[in-house]
């Protein structure tokens, strides 16, 4: 994120997620579990011109410093995203997202015959086979999921 963009609508404290693939901002919020009903102040900027991606989305979450493990899951749909932790208008920490080896309760299995798509008391669990491109394997039925991952967000 450039200094200029930060100054457009700076936040005092919180987290700025930058370099989200254009069109994926709302899915990022979904993965983070931030919905209209939560009380966080959230700004979403979509289709901003960006040298790196052509166009990009930006999400700013005020007064909340997102933890590494909650943020890493967004690498599923926005592998180039960068996380900026803001304190008193300053970027105090900047990092990239890195997909963990296992994804729990984020993506459901696309196999309709999978036991994880029933009312059994289990959570969807995916092993990350490769990170780039993202290739997931259901822990239960071993079905692979690689395309249209956003369609299967829980």
């Amino acid at each position: 994120m450039t200094e200029v963009e930060l100054k457009v609508r700076p936040i005092k404290n919180g987290t700025v997620i930058d370099h989200i693939a254009a069109g994926q901002a709302l899915n990022v919020l979904k993965i983070l579990g931030i919905f209209g009903t939560s009380d966080a102040t959230v700004s979403v900027v979509m289709n901003v011109a960006s040298g790196k991606l052509g166009k990009k989305d930006i999400v700013k979450v005020e007064d909340r410093e997102l933890k590494e493990e909650e943020v890493n899951r967004i690498a599923l749909i926005a592998p180039a995203a960068t996380i900026n932790i803001i304190r008193n208008f300053n970027v105090v920490e900047k990092r990239n997202v890195d997909l963990p080896n296992e994804i729990v309760k984020v993506v459901r299995c696309q196999n309709p015959s999978c036991i994880s798509n029933t009312s059994e008391p289990i959570s969807s669990r995916m092993t990350v086979k490769t990170k780039n491109p993202v290739l997931l394997r259901c822990v239960y039925c071993e079905q692979l999921l690689t395309e249209r991952i956003a369609d299967y967000l829980i």
Partner: protein
């Protein structure tokens, strides 16, 4: 060598682990043929078949009884009432309190993995939907080892290679042994690309054809599978395909003398009864070998000290 708590998929087996199961099965063969044993005396095996597979169930039951243990069964009526009401997780927790190990067959893929997460005792997967059936693969490998040779093997997998989980799992396991694999199927029933890619990435030589005559002279093992009528919308097309994949003694005349013919059974028309009396037929040996293989797994999972 064998440290597993459950037997769920072939993917979790290393070659060393497969070898140790095969070795133990071989030493248990006399007991599988009737020699008295009390190795698992006092142990109880629960057989939870949520869909019918009488033969697999009987094979497990035989294996347990030959080792001196006993079995409890989920009747078909209970299976269907469970399927409607109680969760599988709860059923497993309850039955896990009665038995020393659980064998499960269930129509949903991944159900054996779920069972293993809730069971206080070892779980053996006897088939989960279109998913895995590892004991079938292990008995296939055992048959090859006993009746042919697992090293430098050239094998043809014939029939429905698209939907047949047996052949997917077997092909994967054979890749651990560096086998040369010929995939022989009608074009519409070819093995899925992802599975072939997985085999090639392990250095396995894979050859694909729809004509068995191309490979019959070179192979050591001919593994036949059933081509299901339902896969073909056009009955005439099915007839044509079924005819071209029907094994006869005349056809076997082209093969090596030592060739063995395998089939997971039941067969329909793909092996004519006249093949049964050729020296190549091994499919009935193969089904028997399911007993020592399952005995070996039961013993490995349930311990049993008094041998």
């Amino acid at each position: 060598m064998f440290k597993k708590r459950h037997v769920l998929t072939m993917r979790e087996f290393s070659r060393d682990e497969i070898d140790s199961v095969i070795e133990l099965a071989s030493s248990l063969e006399p007991y599988a043929r009737g020699k008295k044993s009390s190795m698992l005396e006092g142990k109880i095996l629960a057989l939870l078949f949520f869909e019918p597979s009488t033969r697999t169930r009987m094979s497990f039951e035989t294996a347990m009884k030959r080792l001196g243990g006993s079995t409890i069964n989920l009747g078909s009526a209970e299976a269907s009432s469970v399927a409607k009401g109680e969760s599988l997780a709860d059923t497993i927790r309850v039955i896990g309190g009665y038995a020393d190990a659980i064998v499960i067959r269930h129509p949903k893929e991944g159900s054996a993995r779920l069972a293993s997460e809730f069971s206080p005792v070892p779980v053996l997967n006897a088939g989960d939907g279109a998913g895995h059936h590892p004991t079938q693969t292990l008995l296939d490998l055992y048959t090859i080892k006993k009746e042919s040779n697992l090293d430098d093997l050239s094998i043809a997998l014939v029939g429905d290679l698209k939907y047949g989980r047996t052949v997917h799992s077997l092909a994967y396991a054979l890749s651990l042994y560096g086998a040369d694999i010929s995939l022989v199927s009608p074009p519409a029933l070819r093995m899925p690309e992802a599975i072939k890619a997985d085999l090639s990435s392990k250095g396995t030589h894979v050859y694909e054809t729809s004509d068995l005559t191309e490979v019959i002279e070179q192979i050591d093992v001919l593994y036949m599978t059933r081509i299901q009528r339902e896969r073909f919308p056009d009955p005439l097309e099915y007839q044509k395909v079924a005819r071209s994949y029907r094994l006869t003694p005349e056809f076997l005349a082209e093969a090596k003398k030592t060739l063995i013919v395998m089939h997971p059974l039941p067969r329909v028309d793909e092996i004519t009864p006249a093949v049964d009396s050729t020296p190549n037929a091994r499919y009935f040996h193969q089904s028997f070998y399911g007993v020592p293989i399952r005995m070996a797994l039961l013993k490995l999972l349930m311990g049993g000290d008094n041998d």
